[in-house]
């Protein structure tokens, strides 16, 4: 590490300062999750008892199950819609306006999307539950998949697909035989990103969920509003590490730079 920073000079300060700022609160949280005492701020000794208590909490387990269902279903929808859209935009209809619309759900304020979806479901008299959360999550997840797959499509050569089309392959055939294998890393990265985004998403789930099917972030929200507890620390540690792990795996399929 010393060697890495040797040319930085005073720029080391903001770089390491920013990293300290980003990781210190998380580090303290993880550290406190192994505290033996149930006093949230006093370290008494190492223990994993709070992790054990999580497994015996029906609320958390239900939330976890609901979140898993939503994340898997939303990811499947998002990958199908996002991939088709990315291929369509890259190969069949180059349009800056359509591209902007396709990516908007990813950058639009979540609160605006959330109230819009709530309004829509209410007007359709659609009962709120896990399915409405799935539909809503697929909306912004698909935009992220579109962005990642489209980025990959711009890098790869489209001449193979054209050759397949010239040889009489249908667009759908060329898609499955040529395009799909070449964008596979982007698809995996998009799916993993979509999965974690859904896993951690709170605002839209909060608005579009029914009262009887809380997702894990909704359970966490109801817990953190009542202050600090070692149980939340343990749950938070597991959730943070899960997301971080999935993102690191996603990055192996993709350079960070491509996401910007």
């Amino acid at each position: 590490m010393k060697k890495v920073g040797s040319k930085l000079g005073w720029l080391k300060l903001p770089l390491y300062g920013a990293l300290l700022f980003l990781y210190l609160p998380i580090a303290v949280l993880i550290f406190m999750s192994f505290n033996e005492s149930d006093a949230p701020f006093t370290w008494t000794g190492f223990s994993t008892r709070w992790y054990g208590e999580l497994i015996s909490s029906p609320e958390i387990l239900t939330g976890f199950r609901n979140t898993l269902i939503v994340a898997i279903a939303a990811t499947i929808i998002a990958v199908v819609l996002g991939t088709l859209l990315a291929v369509g935009l890259a190969r069949y209809q180059r349009s800056a306006a359509l591209e902007a619309i396709a990516l908007t759900p990813a950058i639009f304020p979540d609160l605006a999307l959330a109230i819009g979806l709530l309004t829509l479901f209410t007007n359709l008299n659609y009962a709120l539950g896990l399915d409405s959360v799935i539909i809503s999550h697929a909306l912004f997840c698909a935009a992220f998949v579109t962005a990642i797959v489209r980025g990959r499509l711009h890098q790869i050569d489209s001449s193979l697909e054209q050759a397949a089309a010239d040889l009489g392959d249908t667009a759908v055939g060329a898609f499955f035989r040529i395009t799909l294998p070449s964008i596979k890393p982007a698809l995996i990265a998009g799916a993993l990103l979509s999965f974690t985004l859904s896993l951690d998403e709170f605002v839209i789930a909060f608005f579009t969920n029914g009262p009887s099917t809380p997702t894990l972030p909704i359970v966490i929200y109801s817990m953190v509003r009542f202050g600090v507890s070692p149980e939340i620390n343990a749950l938070a540690t597991l959730v943070l590490l899960t997301s971080a792990l999935i993102i690191i795996i996603a990055q192996r399929n993709l350079k960070v730079k491509d996401q910007i």
Partner: protein, 297 residues
């Protein structure tokens, strides 16, 4: 005969192209239309309606929701939200620019490692990252304990439940969104331009000010929008770190839809927020165009 054949074949090709274009584009665009564009249309339409007794709306046309939004109470909250979001954005720039600049000075394989370290927290649970600050800043939290142990203070300080805590929480949440676009603008700058400036007699600091800074401007603006937009509509950070004492537009909108059940008024607030953001996007696009135009000219 031959011409007719060519024509039918061309027609068939065109039809096939249209069908494949539709297969790829229509599902996604239809989804976005139904679940984003139509709902936004609903919200806009609602701004002219009257609130229903039990939530929802009654179809009585009115402009009252707009006049109500101009009440000094709500204008005050909007102003405070803008100030808080702007403060978080400014701080993110002051920390983010040198950080992004430092990353560009690293060997390229290390650049990816550090970029990943910067974005990794951003992709994790937002609620938990906000909650982590309560653990740290609480009156019994680590910061207070550390300060008391070192003898700097005798009594624990209340860091939370102030606008400053909200700014800190937003800065923490969205700092990576400032660093990434600035980094990507900085790495795209051709080093030859800076060298040329220095060869022509510019000092390194002059070259930095006259070459690097202006060319990084589009990245800074994207970063500023990426931090400002989610900050102004946020209701979690004001609630958890502001303790409900600092009310932002996001809290107001949330409450109108879920608590007060005044959807038309909530819609006015939401539409004002969206319009403000659209203006920002428009301005950013203009500046971007101006800077890029200058470069090519």
């Amino acid at each position: 005969m031959a011409q007719a054949l060519v024509k039918t074949e061309r027609d068939a090709n065109q039809r096939r192209a249209l069908i494949s274009r539709s297969i790829f584009l229509i599902p996604g665009l239809a989804y976005i239309t139904i679940f984003m564009l139509v709902p936004l249309g609903f919200i806009f339409f609602y701004t002219f309606l009257t609130r229903g007794t039990y939530g929802g709306v009654e179809y009585i046309f009115t402009l009252e929701n707009y006049t109500r939004a101009l009440d000094s109470l709500y204008v005050g909250i909007l102003m405070e939200s803008i100030m808080i979001a702007a403060a978080a954005t400014l701080l993110a720039f002051l920390i983010g620019f040198p950080t992004a600049y430092a990353i560009t000075k690293l060997p390229s394989n290390w650049q990816n490692v550090f970029l990943l370290l910067i974005v990794l927290p951003f992709w994790t649970n937002f609620l938990i990252r906000t909650y982590a600050w309560i653990v740290l800043l609480n009156t019994q939290g680590f910061l207070n304990k550390g300060l008391i142990n070192t003898g700097l203070i005798n009594q624990p300080l209340e860091f939370l439940y102030k606008p400053g805590a909200v700014i800190l929480g937003l800065l923490y949440a969205f700092l990576p969104l400032m660093i990434l676009p600035i980094y990507s603008a900085l790495v795209r700058i051709d080093p030859a331009m800076k060298e040329a400036a220095i060869n022509l007699g510019a000092s390194p600091s002059q070259a930095f000010r006259q070459i690097t800074l202006p060319l990084a401007l589009p990245g800074v603006l994207v970063g500023a929008i990426f931090v400002f937009v989610p900050s102004i509509g946020n209701f979690i950070v004001p609630e958890l770190l502001g303790g409900g004492k600092t009310v932002m537009v996001g809290n107001l909108i949330r409450d109108q839809f879920l608590k007060a059940r005044d959807w038309p008024f909530g819609s006015v607030l939401a539409i004002s927020m969206v319009v403000m953001l659209l203006i920002l996007f428009f301005l950013q696009a203009r500046v971007n165009k101006a800077v890029l135009g200058e470069k090519s000219g």
